[in-house]
Symmetry: C2
Subunit: 220 residues, 2 copies
């Protein structure tokens, strides 16, 4: 087995903000590919995304040389490479905590699978919800979490429970070995540094937008 040599394309050297753009590139390139486009350029992709072509080229240059001068990028090839870089050339099991409206929506969503993810377990603390069916999954009680994570080697979890319950759920998830959490509860979690968290809260986006709007509310 060859030791991986540290190179100009060393992973540790890639800024997180660059990693954050790769999924956007991949999403768009996949659309290009599915609509039959064979080749694209940094300029075309950039115009489509509202990003400068230089930025796209520099971002990609952290990982290798994927393009051809004068021609651009082979769409299918670049998709493959980005999938490899992001490690989504496979399907990751994801566990979901919370079987409310949002949990239902997430568990029923068909768009995860072909982008590298599959919700393989749904958990809820409520006796009423446990045992219920969502798609082809049965809602499990929280004390099944540990067994489930061991069996599936599941590293990723979604928290879709009310804000009051989210921190406790997060603590539990970490205890059973989850490494990355996507939190839909409108709070900031306190977590050990080796755990990744990202947040989705539509109100944060709304409030960002209203700053730029001229006021036009219903009531005070």
């Amino acid at each position: 087995m060859t030791t991986q040599k540290s190179s100009a394309h060393d992973k540790a050297a890639v800024p997180d903000i660059v990693i954050g753009r790769l999924p956007i590139y991949l999403r768009t390139l996949t659309i290009f590919r599915n609509s039959g486009k064979d080749v694209t350029s940094s300029q075309e992709l950039g115009e489509y995304l509202g990003i400068s072509s230089a930025q796209i080229r520099k971002d990609l240059s952290h990982f290798g040389e994927f393009g051809k001068q004068g021609t651009g990028y082979n769409v299918a090839y670049l998709c493959k490479q980005l999938e490899k870089i992001l490690k989504v050339d496979c399907v990751w099991p994801v566990l979901l905590v919370g079987a409310g409206h949002l949990g239902h929506a997430l568990a029923s969503y068909e768009g995860f699978e072909n982008r590298g993810f599959r919700i393989t377990g749904v958990f809820d603390s409520s006796q009423e919800k446990v045992g219920g069916q969502i798609g082809n999954l049965v809602v499990q009680p929280m004390d099944e979490l540990n067994d489930f994570v061991s069996r599936q080697r599941c590293q990723i979890a979604i928290i879709a429970v009310p804000a009051e319950a989210a921190q406790n759920v997060a603590n539990l998830l970490i205890k059973v070995g989850v490494k990355s959490i996507l939190c839909y509860a409108p709070i900031t979690l306190t977590l050990p540094p080796h755990v990744q968290v990202e947040y989705i809260d539509p109100v944060i986006h709304f409030q960002h937008m209203t700053f730029y709007l001229s006021k036009g509310c219903i009531d005070s």
Copy 2:
């Protein structure tokens, strides 16, 4: 009427990235307030959020001087000020397009109202969905959009339709005068520059996280 004088706290001068953090501060301060905390400091808030205290102080300094040396910030007062800055000291009407699982979850969510937003209309293009009830709202057909927006002066919309339909929905929303769009469809919309868009796509977050995970997938 007095003309607003351009000042050191000129709105145009505030970087967008700063605006983007204010809703997070507000969310956290509101939690502090609701748990009975009267006073906080940039250090306390920063530790809670994983942000440096200097950053918080500098961010706030764009808008005024809200703290007291030696003491810190009055939580309730700072909440009020942030609500005013973000223009969420009121309730904004929001229209929702898409009455699928996600649309249901959003329309039923109770957490919008006390943070400045209320979904006041749900629209869907499907004959089957139109007329259906979600909470206290009735799903309306798309051709009611125009009247609705005029009546409500609704500037904000959520797109919760499949990717294939999203661009057309967005075009329609712009035509009827919507100014800001929160798009849940996994695509980048092409829009005139005067329209604000933000995106929510959980897969983007997952793919960001898997970059840092060691691979452990179900299948290839």
